[in-house]
Amino acid sequence: MPKIAPLTVLKYVSVLALAVFIAFLPQIFDARLDAASAEFRVGQFTLVGIWFVALLGLNLLTGYNGQISLGHGAFVGLGAYVAALLSLGRPGLELYMLDPPSWMPIGDGMRPVFTIPIAALVTGVIGLLFGFPALRLGGVSLALATLAVAVSFPIIMKRFDEFTGGGGGINLNLPTTPFGWDISTRHWLYYEAWVTAGIVFLIAWLLVRGRVGRAWRSIRDGEVAAVSSGVNSALYKTLAFGVSSAFAGAAGALLAIEVAYVNPDTFPVALSILLLASVVIGGLGSLIGALFGSLLYVFLPIYSQNPPLVSWDFSNQAPAVVFGAFLIVIMLLLPGGVVGGLRRLGFFLRGLGARRPRAQTAEPLTSGTDGD
């Protein structure tokens, strides 16, 4: 029976505690805030959950597997559109005078919650397909290629407006709690997002600590070495694309359901860029880093426009400046992101002299190899 280190126990316990906290968060808000504020906060944290799902995907691709993607937002958008089309179904779409081509397997509409796995599947497959040509590209080339995808996505969505609704977008039916359960819609959406997040996190965790994760990391750290040790890099790299796109698709579906509206301008290239920024700042190569990233993504714009202690009102451009500045500073000082910083703090406090915090090892961005 393998000895479990106290550190690992601490990690599992804290993740569990976090899960419990997330589960009861809406109740906490209800208890401590008035109804309107509570609703608002729950909505915010629903978004955190949604972006957490997306960032988990990006983290797997870029953090664990080392493939830079500036196109993640496009996959989120794709998932959103799939969910929208499926949940309305042909009859619903007709009402908006949208007429998808007959080869598209859009049924007659379905419960939004079922669109989530389907959207994930569809985007996952497309991601896999994208992974094949991506094998020929590396590093910056891949960044450029994915940037191209991200830039093209809104344009293409607008162009093919027979079924995408063009610039006007598609309105989904307002979300309702299914099966007549007795919770408010807001709460239902919150749990929908976070249960999905939990499932996705579990999948990610299992992948990362298993053979797949090891293969991914070895490819990231040195593809040539990995291949010569027998790792099938083509398989794993494509798989990384597929999995990360699937997660993005799930996030997109959740977003579509939550906002009840999809439109090309919700998924501009800026989204892809900011997603990458968020996951880097949160900490690549660490699953919890994606959570920090999603918190950052949701709350930074708010707090940088109206910082709590300062009475000015910064323009709405401030978030971008702060994001960018953060990104640069993090790269210069703390490549492991927030998680990396916490780790170093942990080492420092524990007085572990063996692992020097300034070691420039082969993985400056990824602050752990066990993927928690």
């Binding site: 870029t62 080392g66 830079i68 500036l70 040509p133 020929r136 590209l137 590396g138 590093g139 910056v140 080339s141 960044a143 450029l144 290629a145 940037l147 191209a148 995808v149 830039v151 093209s152 344009i155 293409i156 607008k158 162009r159 290239v269 860029i273 900011l274 990458l276 920024a277 880097v280 910064f314 323009s315 709405n316 451009q317 401030a318 978030p319 971008a320 400046v321 702060v322 994001f323 960018g324 500045a325 953060f326 990104l327 640069i328 790269m331 210069l332 490549p335 420039q360 400056p364 961005l365």
Partner: protein
């Protein structure tokens, strides 16, 4: 034919920015994702100067100086510390710069669209039955002259020689006593100047807003990759060719029309990356080994 000329004019803008990208890539092995935003920022500086009474060409000149200093400063302050880190770190720093500059531009000058007057008269002239706009000719002339001056600088001056040597081999240059750091900063400064020219030429037609050069940057990436990421000649040729081809495709191919021009250019980018990654004239592929 008119489309060809305006395609060339557009293309010369792409060529300028593409050349800036190639310049930096050859010198420092970095693909500067923030090149467009740096150009936008300097174009706004020009706008402010003109807003305060300066006429176009003096403002143009001052802006070039500002761009040069700014570009060199970016290299020394932001890029130097991360020069030796893995590729992904440097990519992310330039992306951070892109995000920050975009926000900063909007913050300082506001996100509303601003009018940017063209220095060229808005007439058209008739050359052998073809109607050509003076604006197009002017843009083409300015960009090509700038490129030519830069070429002459590299070919005929001592400093240009030293910079070419540094781009060839930093280590060998060090052993000869060349202050490589300053040369790299110089390179970034010159690239920023190219960007500023591209921005100021693009602004009249595209109207000035913080996202001005974002789209141009994408086209320029396509042009640089098409020409060969380490080939200055390739960048210029790639830019001009891309400008003309996209313009013609947009005008004569219905499917593409006005909206799908950018995806069309990006398809070119993707195809080149997949089929012939070194582009038309280049030798190296867009990845650090």
């Amino acid at each position: 034919m008119q489309q060809v000329v305006s395609g060339l004019a557009q293309g010369s803008i792409y060529a300028s920015l593409a050349l800036a990208l190639v310049l930096i890539y050859r010198a420092t092995d970095v693909l500067n994702f923030a090149q467009g935003e740096m150009a936008t920022f300097t174009t706004y500086v020009a706008w402010s100067l003109m807003d305060n009474g300066l006429s176009f060409w003096p403002a143009f000149a001052v802006t070039l100086v500002v761009a040069f200093v700014g570009g060199a400063a970016v290299e020394r302050v932001l890029i130097r510390p991360v020069e030796h880190r893995p590729e992904i770190v440097i990519v992310i720093v330039t992306i951070g710069l892109l995000i920050a500059l975009n926000g900063l531009t909007g913050w300082i000058w506001g996100p509303e669209v601003k009018a940017f007057d063209s220095p060229f008269p808005l007439r058209t002239i008739d050359v052998a039955g073809v109607v050509i706009s003076l604006q197009d000719l002017g843009v083409l002339a300015v960009c090509l002259i700038t490129v030519a001056l830069l070429w002459a600088f590299f070919r005929f001056t001592t400093l240009g020689l030293v910079m070419r040597a540094v781009a060839n081999s930093q280590d060998s240059s060090r052993l000869l006593g060349v202050r490589v750091g300053w040369m790299l900063a110089l390179g970034w400064g010159l690239a920023a100047v190219l960007g500023a020219v591209a921005g100021m030429m693009a602004a009249p037609a595209l109207t000035l807003d913080p996202n001005l050069m974002l789209v141009v940057l994408i086209y320029s990436f396509a042009a640089a990759v098409l020409g060969g990421i380490d080939s200055p000649v390739g960048a210029v040729v790639g830019g001009l060719v891309l400008g003309v081809v996209i313009n013609l495709l947009g005008t004569y191919v219905d499917f593409i029309g006005g909206e799908l021009r950018l995806p069309a250019a990006l398809t070119v980018l993707l195809l080149v990356l997949l089929i012939r990654p070194q582009g038309l004239f280049g030798h190296r592929v867009v990845t650090r080994v």
